[in-house]
């Protein structure tokens, strides 16, 4: 079974620029999550999709972050404009269903804002 694919692996941008991350979940996984992991901290949920609908985006900074999941498969997360404090690893995860054992994480995109 192929894992969760994310790209790019690394990205360096200047503050106020925009950036986009891409995620391809495991085939057949209906639920997709974006997490932000700041260095030295645990991952924090930004947004959860069930198929192509948003289940939870309560912690997404909507003034600068946006995400979409067209056709219920791939997803993109965008930041515009970026701030220094957005420097973090952005992790995508997917699961067949909501529940304890079902989450599989990708390796993440490491974003550095300078």
């Amino acid at each position: 079974e192929a894992g969760v694919a994310q790209s790019p692996r690394y990205k360096i941008i200047e503050k106020r620029q925009s950036v986009a991350f891409w995620c391809n979940p495991i085939s057949g996984h209906a639920t997709l999550y974006w997490y932000q992991q700041i260095l030295g901290q645990g991952p924090k949920l930004l947004i959860q999709f069930q198929n192509n609908g948003v289940v939870d985006d309560s912690q997404l900074p909507k003034d600068r972050f946006s995400a979409e999941r067209l056709k219920g498969v791939d997803s993109t997360l965008k930041i515009q404009p970026a701030k220094l404090e957005d420097s973090a690893v952005y992790l995508c995860a997917s699961s067949l269903r909501q529940g304890a054992g079902g989450y599989t994480f990708g390796s993440g995109t490491r974003l550095t804002v300078v």
Binding site: V4, Y33, G40, Q41, G42, P43, K44, L45, Q48, V55, D56, L91, A93, Q98, G99, A100, G101, Y103, F105, G106, S107, G108, R110
Partner: protein, 111 residues
């Protein structure tokens, strides 16, 4: 107060020792409890999960949950250098729709 708290470490042990990791959580509604392992520059991978209170063993790993004290533990027996990683505890409510992580404990097993 954070919903899930962990000592950040680092925790350094000699090879073969028992590694003992702990978490506390604040929300009594949490039903599922998990331990993830995260190697440098990789995403978290699920090690173990338990439902409600009790113990669960899988090879060298034992997870314990005490819901009365809101305390989660992970023990690694016969630790190996390959166990060097960050260990994240996580919880999930009954609705199963939001995984809440602790800050992670960095573990270093020295040969």
């Amino acid at each position: 107060q954070k919903e899930v708290e962990q000592d950040p470490g680092p925790l350094s042990v000699p090879e073969g020792a028992i590694v003992s990791l702990n978490c506390t959580y604040s929300n009594s509604a949490f039903q599922y409890f998990m331990w993830y392992r995260q190697y440098s520059r990789k995403g978290p991978e699920l090690l173990m999960y338990t439902y409600s209170s009790g113990n669960k063993e899988d090879g060298r790993f034992t997870a314990q949950v005490d819901k009365s004290s809101k305390y989660i533990s992970l023990f690694i027996r016969d630790s190996q250098p390959s166990d060097s990683a960050t260990y994240l505890c996580a919880t999930l409510g009954a609705a199963g729709n939001k995984l809440t992580f602790g800050g992670g404990t960095r573990v270093l097993v020295k040969p």
